[in-house]
């Protein structure tokens, strides 16, 4: 499994150490610095060693906030906005479509909106967000960091097909 080089982790810790909100900032930067956009276990251990914050507390923080995840995300991340404006414009249908049409058969819990799910081939990660604040474009879906507004199941279908094809070419 991917990890973050110790030197990089130390650099991040140094950048925020002793500032208010340092633990959140450190974990955020560690997560965005990894290829799989997650918190590798040994990086968390390193944070504990350097900051003297008990690992138990770091784990508590890493599991409390929805932004963090402890397993790597897939090659492509699809984030469905579940804000109120998106909900009134049927964003649940979008999530349900992804859940039904991508391969999450290995997800033991059966999959819910509140967890991050990665397809068995590691190609897609699907998760939801409480709100992107893009309510005027509702319903909104973010694919690999780009926001797409006025989404429909049909548009999503085309988008997934396109991404899957790109992968096949590679």
């Amino acid at each position: 499994m991917e990890t973050l080089p110790k030197e990089r982790t130390d650099e991040i810790i140094k950048k925020y150490d002793s500032l208010p909100g340092s633990l959140l900032s450190i974990l955020e930067e560690i997560q965005t610095s990894t290829k799989g956009k997650f918190l590798p276990e040994d990086a968390l251990v390193r944070v504990g060693e350097k900051t003297r914050i008990p690992l138990s507390r770091i784990y508590s923080v890493a599991t409390f906030y929805s932004f963090f995840n402890l397993v790597p995300q897939g090659r492509h991340t699809i984030v469905v906005c579940r804000g109120t404006a998106c909900h009134t414009r049927k964003s649940k249908e979008l999530f349900d479509y992804l859940k039904a049409h991508l391969d999450f058969s290995h997800v033991k819990s059966g999959g819910s909106e509140k967890e991050l799910m990665t397809t068995s081939d590691g190609n897609f990660t699907v998760r939801t967000v409480a709100c992107f604040g893009q309510c005027a474009l509702a319903p909104v879906v973010e694919v690999d960091g780009v926001i797409y507004g006025h989404m429909t199941v049909e548009k999503l279908k085309t988008m997934i097909k396109k991404i899957s094809k790109e992968k096949a070419k590679k």
């Binding site: 914050i53 929805s66 109120t84 409480a130 709100c131 604040g133 474009l137 429909t152 199941v153």
Partner: protein, 1045 residues
């Protein structure tokens, strides 16, 4: 660059003004997240390229958001000397046109929103120029007319990434004034005088918080801005930061000075990357220019701000949780006292305010508390920025003086839903707020008024919901959210919300019972009373308000096992089935048809609708309004399809076998007698099912034939009567007896009630609403209903050659098209506009094709007769569009202008009413509008053996809605008569394929063929030929099979 005195500040101002007035055309593109999401970046790149190519010397830069998100991307153009012009919905390909327009100083070919001649930045004023008279001024258009921009004073007009432009419009001057001329105590005094209240939700007076903090002595004190904006459906803080970050920084520095704080934190959501990026840039710039850091603007005061990105926890909106989060803990709230002002971040005094609260501060300092008090209400002065989203036409950020009625925001500014759907409710305050029904839309938007409705202002999210949104689902949605985001520390919130959620899930699955409602209420009350923090205490609000204002929706789920809005998937086959009043299994019969199983397809339809060919011609097609195919192109022609299937079945004689089965499977006689009053759609449908269930059914009707409105209201060119007669034939075969020519008065009705085991009455709404004006007694004045009735009965009709029909409902349209066929010139007179006409839109379109004249916004005042007492003209008053009523329609208001229309016949068709006097003395109670009072699920009246349905109960509705009620009433009557639930045994299971095609069929929507308009004169031949076989096949393949889950 570091500013240390007024001279330095002035110098930067002059430099900033050079980028606002660069001495050449200035183009600014709205580049906040919504703008970018709508393609603003591409627009900006294309504009730069095109200007270069055309050798036009322009200054192009980005700006923030001007608030009108529905019209994004917005592009501002300022040509020296002229007003600033705002273009809307700009696309990259418009760049050429825009550059050309700038060259010519002519904006006529462009999509212009408005112009600004001068702008009050509150901290300063900018004069752009005058001219361009044809373009409306910004505050002359509906979206902005009612707004007042105090917080959004700079948004969409300056470059948010350039501190010099902020200073150019007067920014940081209030800070300078404060640092040099006002003592910290007096700053707090000014804020106190202004009565500024926290804009984060609860509305706590800002000055009280500040005073508490001022009193604390400590080496370190923190001022924190809560920009975590956790409310789903609200984005004003994102926008304020993205569009004008320095206004927040300035507000925080002033606040820090007032409270004696030296450290600042902005806690901003990680989900807002652009806001974070702009804040990082602005903080760096602010330090560089000396408005942040040591010795701010040359004074002795030092303060710096550090940015912390929140990692997605709604509970961190709670101040003690936010403090825990900044300290590096999970965001769990703690008990207060001690208050943060006493013991906050790392034990130091801490003050937390919302973004918007800080943004108001420079404005208050600049103009004074008295000026601020001039806006809003006495107890809630100032403005509030609302994000207006959901099912609303003009989505956007709206800054309103506090205390304005909700309906102004929804209708005047928002423009309603912008679709044919009606608004059902608005939700304010996010997961801590509640749902407000339309009848309370006159509520003023201020803290106390919203609290009194059981909701809160919150951070200012207003989410509009229409008929397609289920209120139980909305309650479930918010409870899911708060249950997940509960920090888990206190039991009432952690366990209570979980149990509320479980109950709501039961309701949505149709598995709840009555007592679950009281349980929901009890649990909600306990959570509200005993939870530790604000999240828990307010979390039951969405459930409590929906229970309070929409109890009927809960009942539909619990008693009716249906979700009328079509959201709760466990309670429906597909959205089309759910919206069909007869609940036909639409995807099922379409699949059977696709598979070539015509007879079975017909059989499946017949289970729910025994008049498929008839209704396939005249239905309002509720199904199409919910068809998901509309996302791709157009709804599937579901009704036309069942007409095609039925017609084909009849043509090939396949129905005989199906009918024979039905007759064979008729239940053994129960020995019970059922009397049905009214042989209209509701009565006949009830007769069909009750006779199949083995009851002895007799139908009474005043007319000589069965059909009611289908025969005596709907003209033959829409519904040929032989088709209906064929389909009604099954009733006699089932043994239904008819007693025609029997109009029941109350004596006869009592007799019927006495001699039958159960009575179902469905006499419809057949009386024309009276319209008494001068001359309405003249010869040549008709009622639309009478005209259609006489026509259908084959009576000789003598109308004139020049007819005016008053009204625009279905009766009016049927009457006008019929009169046209008799050779008359026909004009419709309607007091509202074209889009307000309540008639079926297809029928309206056909009436246009057939040459009907329309006069809108005119209301009849007097009918004038000639010497023989016959109508010679009608005088009407021109109406104008007035303000919105609470339902969102514009009220027609009288003008002084009168018009005269010469004519010889006038027909009134302004609506029908129920006449239920025959129910006197039967024990059936009536509602105030004269309709019969029944239980909405069992259709039983106050007399336990009399049931009622159709228009008699609902007031004028559609034929298929009446049939749906006839069916539901039959089920209930059978249960009443037998004590058993035998309904399901009427159904036979028909299997079909349940695989949805992965590839969407790309076939185009098919339109039925019609006879040419020229061939419609002097006859009542059916207009529509229906679909042909190929078209029907195509339509069936277009179905997306939403039933497959």
């Amino acid at each position: 660059m570091r500013i240390s005195d007024l001279k330095g500040l002035e110098k930067v101002k002059q430099s900033g003004l050079k980028s606002i007035f660069p001495g050449k055309p200035r183009i600014t593109v709205g580049m906040d997240t919504c703008g970018i999401g709508n393609g603003a970046k591409e627009v900006m790149i294309e504009l730069e390229k095109t200007a270069k190519k055309n050798k036009l010397d322009v200054f192009i830069e980005k700006t923030g958001c001007f608030g009108f998100c529905a019209a994004e991307p917005l592009v501002n153009i300022h040509i020296p000397g002229l007003p600033l012009v705002i273009l809307k919905e700009v696309k990259a390909k418009d760049a050429g046109k825009i550059i050309k327009a700038i060259k010519k100083k002519d904006f006529s070919g462009l999509n212009v929103l408005c112009k600004i001649e001068s702008w009050d930045h509150i901290t300063g004023e900018i004069k752009y120029g005058s001219g361009l008279d044809t373009i409306p001024v910004w505050n002359g258009i509906d979206f902005f007319k009612f707004q007042k921009k105090i917080v959004l004073r700079d948004c969409g007009l300056i470059n948010p990434e350039d501190i010099e432009e902020y200073i150019a419009v007067g920014g940081y001057f209030p800070l300078f004034k404060v640092l040099n001329n006002i003592s910290p105590e007096n700053v707090i005094e000014e804020v106190k005088k202004s009565k500024l209240r926290g804009r984060g939700g609860a509305g706590f007076p800002t000055a009280i918080k500040w005073t508490l903090m001022r009193q604390e002595k400590s080496e370190d004190k923190y001022v924190v801005c809560n920009a975590d904006e956790g409310d789903p459906g609200a984005y004003m803080n994102r926008n304020e930061i993205e569009s004008d970050p320095h206004m927040l920084i300035e507000g925080m520095v002033i606040a820090a000075y007032a409270m004696g704080a030296n450290k600042g934190v902005i806690y901003v959501r990680a989900e807002y990357p652009l806001a974070v990026e702009r804040l990082v840039k602005s903080i760096a710039q602010a330090r560089q220019y000396g408005v942040l850091g040591d010795n701010i603007l040359g004074s002795k005061f030092s303060f710096d701000i550090n940015l912390v990105e929140g990692a997605g926890a709604f509970v961190c909106g709670e101040e003690t949780a936010l403090i825990a989060s900044i300290e590096g803990f999970a965001g769990r709230p703690t008990q207060r006292p001690p208050f943060p002002a006493q013991k906050g971040i790392f034990g130091k005094p801490t003050n937390i305010n919302n973004v918007e609260t800080f943004c108001n501060v420079p404005a208050i300092i600049s103009k004074g508390a008295d000026w601020f008090m001039g806006t809003g209400t006495k107890n809630s002065p100032g403005t509030k920025v609302f994000s207006l989203v959901g099912k609303i036409k003009n989505t956007g950020l709206v800054e309103m003086p506090l205390g304005q009625p909700l309906q102004t925001v929804i209708y005047n500014i928002g423009g309603g839903t912008g679709t044919k759907k009606k608004i059902k409710a608005v939700q304010t305050g996010g997961p801590s707020g509640g749902c407000i029904p339309t009848h309370l839309f006159n509520t003023p938007l201020d803290y106390e008024s919203l609290n009194s409705l059981g909701t809160i202002m919150g951070s200012g999210g207003i989410v509009v919901m229409d008929d397609d949104n289920c209120m139980v689902d909305v309650a479930k949605y918010f409870t899911e959210f708060t249950n997940h985001d509960s920090c888990g520390k206190c039991t009432p919130c952690r366990e209570g919300l979980y149990h509320q959620l479980k109950i709501l899930e039961k309701v949505c699955a149709g598995k709840a019972v009555d007592k679950d409602i009281s349980l929901l209420k009890d649990v909600g009350a306990v959570i509200a009373d005993t939870a530790l923090c604000g999240l828990g205490q307010t979390a039951p609000n969405p459930v409590m308000t929906t229970l309070r204002y929409f109890p009927l929706e809960y009942e539909h789920h619990i008693k009716g096992h249906r979700c009328p809005s079509g959201v709760c998937l466990d309670l429906l086959i597909s959205p089309c089935e759910n919206s069909c009043p007869l609940h036909i299994n639409i995807p099922g019969y379409i699949e059977l048809f696709r598979e070539g199983r015509l007879q079975e397809s017909f059989e499946l339809i017949l289970q729910e609708n025994f008049l498929p060919s008839t209704t396939g011609r005249i239905c309002h097609f509720h199904c199409k309004m919910r068809c998901r195919r509309e996302d791709i192109d157009k709804p599937v022609a579901q009704g036309e399809l069942h007409r095609f299937i039925a017609d084909k079945v009849y043509k090939n004689g396949l129905e005989k076998g199906v009918y024979a089965q039905i007759l064979k499977n008729k239940f053994k006689s129960t020995g019970k007698k059922v009397g049905i009053v009214g042989a209209g759609p509701a009565g006949l449908t009830a007769a069909y099912y009750l006779s199949r269930l083995g009851h002895d059914v007799t139908v009474f009707d005043a007319k000589q034939k069965a059909g009611g409105i289908l025969r005596y209201g709907i003209p033959s060119y829409r519904l040929p009567k032989d088709i209906m007669d064929k389909e009604l034939g099954i009733l006699k075969k089932l043994g239904v007896k008819f007693k025609f020519g029997n109009r029941l008065d109350s004596e006869k009705m009592k007799k019927v009630a006495g001699s039958y085991d159960a009575v179902f009455t469905a006499t419809g709404a057949y009386k024309e609403m009276p319209f008494e004006i001068k001359g309405s007694g003249l010869k040549g004045v008709w009622s639309g209903v009478d005209f259609l009735d006489k026509l259908a009965s084959g009576e000789k009709i003598r109308t004139g050659k020049n007819i005016v029909i008053v009204g625009a409902g279905n009766v009016a349209i049927d009457a006008c098209r019929s009169a046209r066929r008799l050779g008359a010139k026909v004009t419709i007179l309607y007091r509202r506009g074209k889009d307000d006409m309540p008639a079926n839109s297809q029928e309206i379109e056909e009436s246009y094709n057939e040459g009907i004249g329309f006069i809108f916004y005119a209301s009849p005042e007097e009918i004038v007769g000639d010497e023989k007492g016959t109508v010679s003209k009608i005088i009407a008053r021109k109406m104008a569009q007035g303000d919105f009523d609470i339902s969102g329609r514009r009220k027609p208001v009288a003008t002084d202008e009168m018009i005269e229309i010469p004519c010889d016949t006038i027909m009134f068709a302004i609506g029908e009413k129920v006449d239920a006097r025959y129910l006197d003395g039967t024990g059936v109670a009536l509602n105030r509008d004269g309709t019969a009072k029944t239980d909405i699920f069992t259709f039983v009246t106050d007399n336990p053996k009399i049931f009622a349905g159709g228009d008699l109960v609902t007031g004028p509705g559609t034929a298929v809605e009446a049939m749906g009620q006839g069916k539901a009433a039959a089920k209930s009557i059978d249960k009443f008569l037998t004590g058993l639930d035998r309904w399901n045994s009427l159904y036979k299971k028909i299997e079909y394929k349940n695989i949805a095609d992965i590839n969407t069929y790309s076939g185009k929507p098919q339109n039925d063929k019609k006879i040419p308009v020229t061939a419609r004169k002097n006859n009542f031949n059916e207009v529509s030929y229906g679909l042909d076989a190929k078209q029907a096949q195509c339509e069936s393949l277009r179905c997306l099979r939403c039933d497959i889950k």
